[in-house]
């Protein structure tokens, strides 16, 4: 039996943790009943700083691009407006790329949100379930007339991020510690993120590749996925794309369609 009046301590203690404009709660005290003041601020600091550091750990390339001061200021806004909804910190920050896209001080880096999307997908792939990848031999065993009906099951780690900017090149250059050469950010790039076994790999998809892979991942048969990819890009090379996706470990199994 719970007497709510006696258990209201968390409702009073929690709101000022992420809102510096709120007063320190009066139900708590320092030594000899003195106001808690800086003692309460220890909790405020623990919460805010640890969550900013969580975002910095998930988005190291974004931090390298912006520099730590810019990053921490941006992350602090996000932490205060969108604290984690799960105790699993590796799930935090899924809405951070959208926040970056709308962040007024990041408007001169329009590709930054897409770099963040690749970093978020990287961590999702890292923690995704383990699964055996499709052996290329399996494809050779399918009769040519049935290939169009083939349905492929995506590996739990597989992700696609599409960008109108050179997000993959910018991501790759900034996940490294080597100096970054000048990058032409205006070339559109699509990323394929996979984790065949234990290493997450980010690849740059060729023209039409993202539409093709996304169609297959959504359960479209091979024929329909290829049509969609040709529609998106006349340069689409079906053989190279199938081989590339399977070699990357994007799929786990295949099934001939019902048709």
């Amino acid at each position: 039996m719970r007497r709510d009046a006696d258990l209201g301590f968390a409702a009073a203690f929690a709101p000022p943790l992420l809102d510096p404009a709120r007063e320190v709660p009066t139900a708590v005290a320092g030594r000899n009943g003195k106001p808690a003041g800086r003692r309460y601020d220890v909790y405020r600091n623990n919460v805010t700083v640890s969550l900013i550091e969580t975002l910095a750990a998930i988005y190291p390339a974004v931090q390298r691009i912006t520099g730590p001061d810019f990053f921490r200021a941006m992350a602090r806004f996000h932490v205060r407006s969108s604290p984690p909804a799960s105790p699993l910190l590796f799930e935090y920050g899924h809405d951070f790329p959208d926040f970056i896209a709308g962040y007024e001080h990041a408007q001169d880096m329009p590709w930054l949100a897409d770099v963040a999307r690749i970093e978020r997908a990287w961590l999702d792939a890292y923690h995704a379930a383990d699964a055996l990848t499709l052996a290329p031999m399996r494809l050779f065993a399918i009769a040519p007339e049935r290939l169009g009906d083939l349905v492929l099951a995506p590996h739990p780690a597989t992700r696609i991020v599409r960008s109108p900017y050179a997000a993959v090149t910018i991501f790759a250059a900034n996940r490294d510690s080597a100096p970054v050469a000048r990058i032409d950010a205006s070339t559109p790039e699509d990323a394929l993120i996979t984790r065949a076994e234990f290493d997450v790999v980010v690849r740059h998809l060729p023209p039409g590749g993202a539409v093709f892979a996304a169609s297959l991942m959504s359960g479209q048969p091979l024929g329909a996925a290829a049509m969609a990819a040709f529609d998106a890009s006349p340069e689409f090379d079906i053989a190279a794309n199938i081989a590339g996706l399977i070699e990357a470990g994007a799929f786990t199994s295949l099934a001939a369609g019902d048709a």
Binding site: F9, A14, V28
Partner: protein, 302 residues
Amino acid sequence: MITAIKPATVPLRFSLPIGGVAGTSFKPEHLPAILEAGPQAGFFEVHAENYMGAGGPPHRALETIRRDHPLSLHGVSMSIGGPQPLDKTHLARFRSLVARYQPALVSEHLAWSTHETSFFNDLLPLPYTEATLACVCNHIDQVQEAIRRPLLLENPSTYLTFCESAMSETDFIRGIVARTGCGLLLDINNVFVSATNHGFPALDYLADFPLAHVGEIHLAGHAEQTDDDGNLLLIDSHDGPVADAVWKLFEIIVARRGPVPTLIEWDSSIPAWPILRAEAAAAQAILDRCKLAAATEDRHAA
């Protein structure tokens, strides 16, 4: 159809309880150095939440470590001390980790970290009243029912007190043990931090603490700040070596309680593996001295 690789239970290769051995926090960056040195006598402790993903490198690293060493599973986010009901999904994840890795030790905190839908990623304090005691005991019952074994509950480090508290922290903890049958994880650094912050002698607290129920000890480093009045305010930062005063308290407690599994907890500004290992060796030396003294006493008694 996805051909998922089903996680298998990691077999036990040691007998329980593990006794007076020293262990360290397991940090993935230390894995190559640990493997190179070969299996060691100590145990490793991990934060349960870091291994609640579906798969990938974290589980592979933990399986590798667990194959040759006892494991301590230390939960940091169950929010046992909070007023709202436990997160059933989180409890289920915790239960499956216990089932998969068969840890030698399983612990959580007397603290809360979630309110409504927000997770604050800190161990937040609670008032000590009859109402909070009933609520905490109810939560511990649920956890112990889920994992089918006793939980070790860790005493907190605090920076402030609640005006409504009607009993001491040690009375509160004693009440929890009496009602739930849980064990305790005595964090001696937390005792030292709280004692300094609130101005009471750490030895008084320890004299009041139900030592017979302690199944694990934590030792860690702390940082120094000051409060608004210029009083020393210690922060439970886990970012450096164990302080001399904490080592001294540890020796006293081990002499009184006998040797129990003891962890060197180091979670940020993580040093190279040999440094962390040397801290554990220092704890092991104290535990071994105590075992030797007990053996000598036995011989004299015989």
